[in-house]
């Protein structure tokens, strides 16, 4: 009987432990990731990524190529629970926005890092698509693609 109640307790505790683990580790990784993103963004500050389609500078263009960066991000268990609670009342889902924001900035940085010698990125486009919606037991994740035309200018 004692064994049975212990088992029941474990059964109850297991999702809770996962939830707490998800919350704590998720927060730490998020914090670390933001720190890294900010550092890299400062490094790439001198290379602009524009949404303009034409280049109107004086320097002649030496070469152009396509630059792509992508990332797949998923939400943690805690955020999913938060989302479910939020769905009752409606309104902005604050727990999801930092995740997508992280994904976008990471994708943009990867795009820039794929062409380290470029002087400028033209016609930059960001695109988000759902890989799986996270219903039932499947993992909910989204892919963010950033792509643009990298210009190499003759100095």
């Amino acid at each position: 009987m004692n064994m049975q109640s212990l088992l029941n307790l474990m059964h109850l505790c297991f999702p809770l432990i996962l939830l707490i683990l998800g919350c704590v580790v998720g927060k730490i990784t998020e914090w670390n990731h933001y720190k890294m993103i900010k550092k890299r963004e400062e490094e790439w500050l001198t290379v602009p990524a524009l949404t303009a389609k034409t280049y109107s500078g004086e320097l002649p263009v030496q070469r152009s190529e396509i630059a792509v960066g992508s990332v797949v991000v998923s939400v943690d268990h805690f955020k999913r629970l938060f989302m479910n609670i939020r769905r009752i009342f409606g309104g902005e889902v604050c727990s999801y926005s930092p995740l997508i924001d992280r994904g976008r900035r990471e994708a943009l940085l990867r795009m820039k890092e794929s062409c380290p010698e470029a002087n400028m990125f033209l016609n930059c486009r960001l695109q988000t698509s759902t890989i799986s919606n996270g219903k039932g037991k499947s993992t909910g994740c989204v892919e963010v693609i950033a792509y643009s035309t990298a210009l190499h200018l003759r100095k």
Binding site: L18, L21, G22, V25, G26, T29, E30, H33, K53, T54, Y55, P60, V61, Q62, S64, E65, I66, V68, S70, V71, V72, V73, S74, V75, D76, H77, K79, L99, G103, E106, L122, N123, R125, Q127, S129, T130, I131, S132, K137, S138, T139, G140, C141, E143, I145, Y147, S148, T149, L151
Partner: protein
Amino acid sequence: MVITNVETVPGQSIIEHYGLVQGSTIRAKHMGKDIMASFKNIIGGELKGYTQLLIEAREEAVDRMEKQAEELGANAVVNVRISTSSVAQGAAEILAYGTAVRVD
């Protein structure tokens, strides 16, 4: 082969249009990666296995598009768009399309 996502190749002029070229591929995630991803899903964050998978798929799609453009005799593809869609649960389609042109 020059690939850009603006209407022209900057610094060069287009002399001939060959029309639309496209390349696509559908990739499924393999079981091991799927299990790893579901573990990773507890703490959230980037799923490196899927990112790698989609990068490979995109390269394949762009390669197929390039091949099609080469067959037409083009030396550049302009105005390229890339899109992802999930066809079935656990499989993603990557489509790359653009206009094949000849530049001087």
